[in-house]
Symmetry: C2
Subunit: 253 residues, 2 copies
Amino acid sequence: MRKHRVAIELYYWPGIQGRGEFVRLLLEDAGAAYADVARQRKNGLRDMLRFLEGEEPGALPFAAPFVKVGKAVVSQTANVLAYLAPQLGLAPKDAARRAEASQIQLTLADFVGEIHDTHHPIAGSLYYEDQKAAAKRRAADFVKQRMPKYLGWLEKVLERNRSSGGQWLVGSACTYVDLSAFQIVEGLRYAFPNAMARLEAKLPRVIALRDRVAARPRIARYLKSKRRQPFNQMGIFRRYPELDAPAPRSRRR
Amino acid sequence: MRKHRVAIELYYWPGIQGRGEFVRLLLEDAGAAYADVARQRKNGLRDMLRFLEGEEPGALPFAAPFVKVGKAVVSQTANVLAYLAPQLGLAPKDAARRAEASQIQLTLADFVGEIHDTHHPIAGSLYYEDQKAAAKRRAADFVKQRMPKYLGWLEKVLERNRSSGGQWLVGSACTYVDLSAFQIVEGLRYAFPNAMARLEAKLPRVIALRDRVAARPRIARYLKSKRRQPFNQMGIFRRYPELDAPAPRSRRR
């Protein structure tokens, strides 16, 4: 009898892509053997909660996602990615470039936090309906100021990266931050289709990066599989038409 | 004539502690030679803006703080700390412990973001007065749920760290994350004195850590110096009594 060994255990809330998806994209692109514990294992969610409640050894996660690799428990999405990617061949080789990847990932993490807060500006513990007025105000600023600022910054980072001819965000090859940038474009297209339709013409490099990632063979297979959960109204990216920009003229006709 | 060489240039907005303070505490505790460019140099603020506007080479920062060390431009507070601390002797030695330090620092960064958003829940570009009603709702949830959750988590991290007898957050010696935890306690005491007065009895290890950091000779000297700017109503930690918990009974009498 052969013992089936799974090297990496991913722990994240079942039913949503959420922050776990950034880790899944890395694992899938690398073809890594991993278990999505709370989705795949009997009692997996209970096992996840044991870590969050401090009943397991290792570094104490404040929140999911976290991974367990051997005895190491590693949490905080950007930290999980920076920890795993070098082992999976999806990080830059030298320290300076790794710091560059990390600063991009952390900026994407801030962006994700602001995207989340468009529908939950007051408290994660309240329903959207109970903070809808504040959400409308926050989303209006987000769509007008923050979203173009973050995406424009990504466009500039690509433009400045001559070592890849503007193809990848850091260095000369695809790294984990490119996969995360893909996910953000996908999520924004789902949550803010009108605002994205207006912006995309100004983001040729970001959109080409999105297409380049989507065409990677393992990513393409993953996106078609059942392992890729659809976006929904429970995750970070939610489609509330009242939070999006108005439809562009050509669409309204 | 001897050329005075400053190894590390820190770029951050003058007039506030802000996120730059987490970097300052590391540099000060290490006794590092650094320039606080926008505060100390003629045209320093203009020089900082050149980086943010993409007019300088190197990795493009999305926001301050960032540092320049040789040719490397490193941004995102947690990334700056993770980059500098090993060179300054204030990071754990091995990779697993460094990932542990990073996950703590990133959780503190999330905490700082939530602290900021108590007074700016709608938009950073609006005045507090224009989002005061939302701020009151967000701060009420923060004081009741989030602040005890984050601080309680820090207390547990200390409790679980047997390699230092609960004295430091990671490993057996002081690292950059301990300095950041100190700053958060100081900031919360300034911004939410009533809420902190209620919580501190449940946080013996966190408060002892704060005292341990404050007593480090270089930190003690720094805190008395003019380089340490006072907290004020422009930074992340702001004292708006209407956002704090009610005064404890003993104080009201």
